[in-house]
């Protein structure tokens, strides 16, 4: 970033917008050193920054905390825009089960507030308490709980955004059913800040389950666990989530049941009858720490990939992935995806990855890099959209970010 550019931006914004730090993992993801970080204090300031960037030919990488940013390679001068100062809860109406908060509000803080009224946001991607609401929506991640609650995209009711060219838009609303016009809001969920900067979000809440029971099955033979996991996924009841984790030493199946005490107990009996196995039962808070451990495991590893396929293919994918020495796996059995945390000392990373990619694609899956060691050229491991989808996505990119200020689909 040239000094005169930073100077010209500093004349447009108050002093409080500058001098903010971000986690060093962000610079690793962006493959660069410390660059200018700007923290706008309002949607208007977001618009000011984006208009300035359009004029100056500077690119903008929007982040929440920056701790979960996926790898990108900036080629042009860029600044980082953090929503950390946009962190207020704007409106919470417990009786409507809806909450509106600024994009930078931490999920942890929202959860504290909603728990007072016995409500929660049923989304559990890794490290969710430390994600921002805007960041969660921008990544579109639901976590394995989408088995029981549906995906995040279906529960985002409204948002305010600032498009790449500085236009502020109000999308959706505060009501749970809304078909007034084309659903642009859906495109923003999971758009990774490539179309617009999200400045506030209204999301639907759910009543906290009376009982949050975790069924656990451990085994040295992962294949055995896989068949039980698939039997759970096709059982006549719908668990809140089905997670399977595995290392070379064996694995663990976690099935989460939500509901009243009597129904959870009845569900467990039906599952055991259907699968022919007996589960160990864990209740909160023991269950919670186990889930945090499983879901958060590997969050700080430098090298991680995500694999997707039809849920029924989970077993064959795990068979391939567990061949990698030192790998740690975490599968969402209902959704059909696996996070694989790989050792950084893996010999010959590039050819190992290429081999893995070939095997997985032959099985009908796709592989995508989440984090990758600095010395590896990883660009070929970012899964590419289909050509036609890519053209439509590129059209939307031009419509919302005509000057390509925000990093994105290229």
């Amino acid at each position: 970033m040239r000094v005169d550019l930073t100077d010209s931006l500093s004349r447009l914004l108050p002093e409080e917008a500058f001098g903010h730090s971000v986690p060093s993992s962000l610079w690793a993801a962006l493959r660069t050193g410390v660059e200018t970080v700007v923290a706008p204090g309002s949607a208007e300031e977001v618009a000011t920054i984006l208009k300035w960037a359009s004029e100056m030919g500077v690119r903008v990488v929007p982040i929440g905390t920056g701790a979960h940013t996926y790898p990108r390679y900036p080629k042009d001068p860029f600044i980082v825009l953090t929503t950390s100062r946009l962190n207020e809860i704007q409106h919470y109406e417990p009786a409507d089960l809806t909450i509106t908060a600024s994009a930078g509000a931490l999920i942890r803080d929202l959860s504290t507030e909603t728990a007072i009224h016995g409500q929660w946001l049923p989304f559990d991607p890794p490290d969710v308490p430390n994600r921002t609401l805007g960041g969660l929506v921008a990544t579109g991640l639901s976590g394995p709980l989408w088995a029981g609650y549906g995906q995040l995209r279906n529960h985002v009711l409204g948002a305010t955004i600032v498009c790449g060219d500085g236009r502020a838009l109000r999308l959706g609303g505060k009501v749970v059913k809304n078909v007034a016009g084309f659903d642009i809001l859906k495109v923003m969920v999971g758009s990774r800040g490539e179309l617009a900067v999200i400045t506030s979000v209204t999301v639907r809440l759910f009543p906290l389950p009376v009982v949050d029971q975790l069924l656990v099955l451990e085994a040295a033979d992962v294949s055995e666990l896989v068949s039980t996991a698939r039997a759970v996924a096709t059982a006549p009841i719908m668990p809140a989530s089905i997670i399977l984790s595995a290392t070379s030493d064996g694995g663990r199946l976690l099935v989460r049941l939500h509901g009243a005490r009597v129904s959870v107990e009845a569900d467990q009996k039906r599952l055991e009858k259907h699968t022919g196995v007996s589960f160990e039962v864990r209740n909160t808070p023991e269950a919670e720490s186990l889930l945090v451990q499983e879901r958060g495991s590997g969050i700080n590893t430098e090298f991680a990939v995500r694999v997707w396929a039809l849920p029924s293919r989970i077993g064959v994918l795990l068979d391939v992935l567990k061949q990698v020495p030192g790998v740690s796996l975490n599968a969402d059995v209902y959704g059909g995806s696996v996070r694989a945390y790989l050792p950084v000392n893996l010999s010959d990373i590039e050819s190992s990855l290429a081999g893995l990619q070939k095997d997985i694609e032959e099985l009908g899956g796709t592989i995508r890099a989440l984090r990758i060691p600095a010395e590896v050229n990883a660009s070929s491991y970012f899964a590419k959209p289909l050509v036609d989808e890519g053209e439509l996505a590129a059209g939307l990119k031009r419509a919302f970010d005509p000057h390509a200020v925000l990093w994105g689909i290229e």
């Binding site: 236009r167 029924s312 995508r368 036609d388």
Partner: protein, 505 residues
């Protein structure tokens, strides 16, 4: 930057008062186009006979009528692609149509348009039990998918009231809801992938279970609810759910809608998650009791509240007990509980037969649709009552109370010109009331032609232009269902792009 077109700038706006959107004759298609279409789909599947076209002159919102220039009924993705390619290359607009049960005029023909119907595309292509998905053609009737998957212990959750007639393609276009979407969500939650035919006949696949969703934008989510303005879905991949073990249905009778509404708030606040929470008001009960559907409700009742729980059988009585307690605490006159399927059907009667029964008490019925935050229901209902009184109109309310989704039904007589004017004015006031309460102009029926005029109540010019831009990405020349959803706008000072921005007007 944008302004709404002034009155007189555009073709006559659809109106209850005129009854028809166009009084002019529909121009027949050139004979070469007709024969080329017949070449693709077979002569018997191209309808041009004016008498037969009358069937297609309106959808479920019969206030707006206009026969199309022709109707084409293809039977496959490839045929739809060829038909759309042919029509678009001749500059002819395409109006997609499913069963025509829509309530916002979304399938109304344009003066230059040809209807492409999906009636012959009624096959379920795949039921993948292990992954709990089905792939269906767009003409498959909603209820048929559940019937076809029941034997595998699965079902399709969205259940619009018209589910025995409406098609899955229409559900995708409208992002349809239904009574049980309180717990299970609307159509968008269940559509995982689509094959679509876009402008010029281009076939594109979007999404799909097992695809990494983070490699592109949620184009499936954007396409769902696009009301036939982006293209035609020709294969629809849908998520299925396991059939729940048990169901409990309660019917609470209340003196007033307000007390029924308070019971709903109490039930939701208590942490219960009912599958459905529906209210019908006094005038609706009166209509039902006067009809062949009479279910023996007390005529003095101000409201009937239907609450349904589903899930693991063991816990349901407990849930039902708590809900019953909430009703009694809010002054329910009586609470009945269904113990068998026949009884359950009976408790649902007033809700399910409400629209049919209203025919008894007035010749015409305008079914409105709006959503407000649930907590605003009592004040909005009082406001609707007030609007009805001021205009001397009878308004009967049926609504998905759990979602705050209202259906105020205005009863009137088309022959009475003064009353028609009142209906239009009252409708607009109801929309404004709902928007002022933090709500929106349609919760599940869509905008179509009917609600275009109200879009500016909820969206500003920048938002409307963003929607228009999204449409242009899919349909640059506006040849799919023009004149729907977006109000006519134009760019000040623009020349050649103005027509396109006017969304096909």
């Amino acid at each position: 930057m944008y302004r709404l077109l002034e009155k007189g700038d555009e073709e006559p706006v659809a109106s209850l008062l005129t009854g028809k959107v166009s009084s002019g004759m529909t121009r027949p298609l050139p004979s070469t186009v007709v024969s080329d279409l017949a070449e693709i789909v077979g002569h018997e599947h191209v309808i041009t006979d004016p008498d037969r076209l009358l069937v297609y002159e309106s959808d479920g919102l019969t206030a707006y009528r206009r026969p199309p220039r022709a109707v084409v009924l293809p039977s496959s993705t490839e045929e739809i692609s060829a038909v759309v390619g042919l029509l678009h290359s001749n500059g002819i607009e395409v109006i997609p149509r499913g069963a025509g049960t829509g309530l916002s005029g979304g399938a109304l023909a344009t003066p230059e348009g040809v209807i492409v119907g999906t009636a012959r595309m009624n096959r379920i292509l795949k039921i993948d039990v292990e992954n709990r998905i089905a792939i269906a053609q767009p003409g498959v009737i909603n209820a048929h998918l559940t019937e076809a998957t029941n034997s595998y212990g699965l079902y399709y959750a969205p259940d619009p009231s018209s589910q025995s007639a409406c098609t899955l393609g229409g559900n995708v276009a409208e992002n349809s809801g239904g009574p049980h979407c309180l717990k299970y969500g609307v159509t968008a939650r269940y559509v995982t992938g689509l094959t679509v035919v876009l402008a010029g006949g281009r076939i594109v696949e979007l999404g799909g279970v097992g695809r990494d969703p983070y490699t592109t934008l949620d184009l499936v989510g954007l396409f769902v609810g696009s009301e036939g303005c982006f293209g035609i879905a020709t294969e629809i991949e849908l998520r299925l759910l396991p059939i729940t073990e048990g169901v409990r249905t309660l019917l609470g009778i209340f003196e007033s809608v307000e007390s029924a509404g308070r019971a709903v708030t109490k039930i939701i606040a208590s942490g219960l998650m009912p599958a459905a929470v529906e209210i019908v008001d006094g005038p609706t009960i009166e209509a039902v009791e006067a009809s062949v559907f009479a279910a023996g409700y007390p005529l003095e009742a101000g409201a009937a509240l239907v609450i349904e729980f589903d899930g693991t059988d063991t816990g349901l009585d407990l849930d039902a007990d708590r809900a019953e307690q909430c009703c009694l605490e809010e002054g329910a006159i009586e609470v009945q509980r269904a113990t068998d399927p026949e009884h359950r059907v009976k408790l649902w009667t007033a809700r399910k037969k409400a629209f049919g029964a209203m025919g008894r008490i007035a010749p015409d019925l305008l079914v409105q649709d709006a959503t407000v935050p649930r907590t605003k229901l009592p004040e909005v209902l009082a406001g609707i009552d007030d609007i009805g009184n001021r205009y001397g109109l009878k308004i009967a309310n049926v609504f998905h109370a759990g979602d705050g989704n209202l259906h105020p039904n205005i009863l009137f007589d088309r022959q009475n010109q003064n009353e028609l004017e009142s209906v239009e004015r009252a409708s607009k006031e109801i929309m404004q009331l709902c928007v002022d309460a933090g709500g929106t102009i349609t919760g599940e029926h869509g905008v179509g032609v009917d609600k275009r005029q109200y879009m500016t109540l909820v969206h500003g010019p920048a938002e409307l232009e963003a929607m228009a831009a999204a449409k242009r990405v899919f349909d640059p020349a506006s040849l799919f269902n023009p004149g729907k959803v977006l109000p006519a706008v134009e760019v000040k000072g623009a020349t050649d792009t103005a027509k396109i921005l006017a969304i096909g007007e």
